[in-house]
Symmetry: C2
Subunit: 212 residues, 2 copies
């Protein structure tokens, strides 16, 4: 697989860049419409006074997400993948040349909404965060196993809609743990704010090691 | 693009096969978890007594969807794409050799849940149906334009959840019509049954031409 080995090489280069600058780089992946951008907006509003935050946005078309993010107060760069279905390490490398990410910053990379292809492309991130909303059904980990196997944290979003849908949190967790026993979970409603504190705590723990 | 031209050639072969048998082949595409399988289950239960229905199911992993479909009373064949992110014309051609589709039947092809890659791969279908659920956000057509440009019908599903989410049916319709002025729409809740009659009517009109 030539494309993948080339990508993996560039991903290591990005990883070295982040390491040198002590940047916490997170790759956020999900289906379309799971709420990644809303989670980022709320996170930036809450943390931007005390943390340096930068965002790279990936979408097939439009700069809507980067515009939403910049309104929240963080510098953002939009990558349009056109007919492409995922971000790759080269796109991140090029974005890093356009946007100077400060040292000890948090860099959120919001991938194209797609549970399949982004799983195959390492961007050089430190942690991969998969977001699933409760409206998507609790069989998603079994049907899209690579994404759950390669993620470190699973945010189960839109839990305010649990009363109205057939979705078992326990089932999705069991299904995902079968594939990846070390996967962590946070239950969240970015809309109501539930679970956001736990997410900020998770982020804070990852940053703390940089200041030690 | 070698892969695409090879695919387009095989798609035409499938199209000829369907034409010869007067099969109405529909390619159902969407994000993961938009409700395609539930729509098919309800459709089969309602129509199987009066129509010949066959289903090809695409997923990265598991035979769950084909099992759900067969319980509803239609023959189904499951294709697992592994690391692949879409069905292609060759997979459909091979499935047609394993499952004898009756003449004048309806063949539903449920694609892998992915708003990006399946847009590029013609399967030889007569109509493409994109399903979007109201929990996914009304900006999806702008962010995933190819899928909406290449579809004939857009089912807006899970409308029973409209009171609980920020989603404007009018906005999604306007956004999609900008890309594809001839796109038709059906508002639906497969869960409550709302809109199903309109969908059966749409299907019926497509079949009627075969009996003329």
């Amino acid at each position: 697989m030539d494309i993948l080995s080339e990508n993996n090489r560039l991903a290591e280069r990005n990883r070295g860049y982040f390491e040198a600058k002590q940047v916490l780089a997170l790759n956020l992946v999900s289906s379309p419409g799971s709420g990644k951008t809303t989670i980022l907006e709320k996170t930036i509003l809450s943390m931007v006074a005390t943390h340096k935050i930068f965002v790279i946005e990936g979408d097939q078309q439009t700069a809507r997400d980067a515009e939403r993010i910049e309104k929240s107060g963080a510098p953002a760069i939009q990558i349009n993948t056109g007919s492409g279905c995922h971000l790759d390490a080269r796109m991140i490398h090029q974005a890093l040349q356009k946007m100077e990410v400060a040292s000890k910053a948090i860099l959120f990379i919001e991938n194209v909404g797609n549970l399949v292809c982004p799983a195959m492309f390492d961007l050089g991130e430190e942690k991969r965060v998969v977001v699933i909303s409760v409206t998507e059904g609790d069989d998603k980990p079994l049907k899209y196993p690579y994404m759950f196997q390669t993620s470190n944290l699973c945010i189960i979003n839109k839990i305010d809609l649990l009363p109205y849908v057939d979705f078992s949190v326990e089932t999705v967790q069991n299904n995902a743990r079968q594939l990846n026993p070390s996967l962590e979970f946070i239950l969240m409603s970015a809309r109501t704010g539930e679970g956001m504190e736990e997410w900020y705590k998770w982020l804070g723990e990852k940053i703390v090691t940089r200041d030690a």
